[in-house]
């Protein structure tokens, strides 16, 4: 027993155990030192009291709650100790394996706190590098696109049909390059946790209509019809309108891309007590069950996706954007019948004119 305690105390990561009644039953020395108190002072406290201790350093301070006891969790927290700011990854797992036979509402949870400050710094440097690279790439792209577009306009004189065709290839490729650079920039911001959302109270219906207008020229090329279906008015969500439009645009342009000519793509909007739900439904090629889990990864394309062009970043970005809004996204699909990409955003708390300070706080991500 003594030896085990020694081992756990020597660990570089902080450890916390909550028992089945949500009371602290163990804290290792690393975590106690992070909190500037002794391990004994922690033991026996409720999760709520422990959160108060944490709140002197950690943001967010409260321990996460789990709707089902088997859930694993992971999140990043800021740790401010005087002048120094560090980042910790908090991993938590159910503590049930040993005596699972007892079953029931679980046997508590173990939380581990790993210092990820170095990883964060590397992520930030990577993201900075990518944003500088993206600026630098834009300069030559501007002169290429500008020159090609001007020649194609006829401004510089007649072009033969062959020249015209070749220039159109250059133009198309350049536009694709621009999109690619934008996507990589967005993804690097998301991955470094540096995406800034401008949250507003809004109705997703308006955003969906805007997204559909943006995709319409693409849909018209193959006669695909676009429609928003919203049987009942939606509750308000707190979201960044540009980013949600980007997410819906990505899903709708995929739906169009993978639909046969003259098919229909419908954006279905609905809600329940907690969520506003947006489902983008197509009658296209569909996705095999075994591939469903990987299409949200970056640069992941199925053979159909590669054939129809693109880079495989759209869904990775879309998922990142929805995650940033504390929403969730998933897909249901059947090969040959079509796909439904569904995301949910939490309904905003009603505005409370009496407590403007609180309302302001809630607006922060």
């Amino acid at each position: 027993m003594m030896a085990e305690r020694n081992i756990l105390d020597s660990l570089g990561s902080g450890l916390l155990v909550l028992d089945a009644r949500d009371r602290v039953s163990f804290v290792n020395r690393t975590l106690a030192e992070m909190l500037h108190i002794s391990a004994e002072e922690c033991v026996g406290r409720s999760a709520g009291e422990f959160a108060v201790l944490m709140s002197r350093f950690a943001l967010p301070a409260a321990l996460p709650r789990f709707d089902w006891p088997e859930a694993f969790g992971s999140r990043d927290i800021e740790w401010r100790d005087g002048e120094t700011l560090r980042f910790f990854r908090e991993d938590s797992a159910p503590l049930s394996a040993a005596n699972a036979a007892q079953g029931g509402a679980g046997n508590g949870r173990v939380f581990a706190y790993h210092d990820v400050s170095h990883e964060k710094a590397v992520d930030r440097m990577k993201s900075e590098f990518i944003s500088v690279a993206s600026h630098e790439l834009r300069t030559p792209m501007t002169s290429i696109k500008g020159s090609v577009d001007l020649i194609l306009s006829g401004f510089a004189g007649e072009t033969s049909p062959e020249m015209q065709e070749l220039l159109e290839i250059a133009q198309k490729s350049c536009d694709r390059l621009v999109r690619l650079v934008n996507d990589i920039l967005d993804l690097s911001k998301i991955e470094a946790g540096q995406l800034k959302l401008n949250l507003e109270r809004l109705d997703v219906t308006e955003i969906a209509v805007r997204a559909i207008c943006a995709v319409k020229p693409l849909a018209d090329k193959t006669g695909v019809r676009l429609r928003v279906d919203r049987p009942l008015p939606l509750p308000i969500v707190e979201a960044d309108p540009d980013r949600i439009e980007q997410a819906i645009t990505n899903l709708v342009s995929n739906a169009v891309k993978f639909s046969p000519p003259n098919a229909e793509v419908v954006v279905e909007l609905s809600s329940d007590n907690l969520w506003v739900q947006c489902a983008v439904c197509d009658q296209g090629v569909g996705i095999a069950e075994k591939d469903l889990h990987r299409i949200f990864g970056k640069f992941q394309q199925l053979s159909e996706g590669r054939r129809r062009g693109g880079t495989g970043l759209g869904l990775a970005i879309t998922r990142g954007l929805i995650d940033e809004h504390r929403g969730s996204i998933w897909v249901e699909s059947r090969v040959g019948e079509g796909s439904r990409f569904i995301f949910r955003l939490p309904i905003a708390a009603p505005p409370s004119p009496n407590t403007p300070a609180l309302a302001g706080q809630a607006a922060k991500p």
């Binding site: 944003s131 501007t142 696109k145 500008g146 001007l150 306009s153 920039l185």
Partner: protein, 138 residues
């Protein structure tokens, strides 16, 4: 309203040419090109443009600083400034607009619509000014 005189502050000569041709395409003949913020101020001594088209990333004095100085000086304050830049991020745009720019256009731009985009910004601006004057008169 017509766009006739444009001062372009842009350190990349190829992009300068593309800007000039895309404006010429729409009948803007008086396009003056300079490469630095300092040249911009010097040129303004003898040339009063309808609009200044301003790049951000330039050596010595960047576009933000150039804009800040333009807005500080009573002689140049009233000249509309439109950024045309590769800095596409939200924070960059906000920074530019806070400095008193009329608009913030990003690269790569569409040479076929550049003129119309600038003109639309100028029209919006003069409509707003009229409204303000109207309110002041009342």
């Amino acid at each position: 309203m017509k766009l006739t005189r444009v001062l372009v502050v842009e350190d990349d000569v190829d992009i300068q040419k593309v800007i000039r041709m895309s404006l010429k395409l729409r009948g803007v003949s008086d396009v003056v090109l300079v490469e630095t913020g300092a040249d911009c101020f010097e040129r303004l001594g003898s040339f009063t443009p309808d609009v200044i088209l301003l790049d951000v990333m330039m050596p010595h004095m960047d576009g933000y600083e150039t804009c800040r100085r333009l807005k500080q000086d009573a002689a140049t304050r009233e000249i509309p400034v439109v950024f045309l830049t590769a800095r596409v991020q939200k924070a960059d745009r906000e920074r530019g607009m806070k400095l008193g720019a009329l608009g913030y256009l990003t690269k790569p731009f569409d040479p076929m619509t550049l003129h119309d985009q600038i003109l639309a910004l100028l029209k919006e601006h003069s409509a707003k000014n009229k409204e303000k004057d109207g309110a002041a008169d009342a």
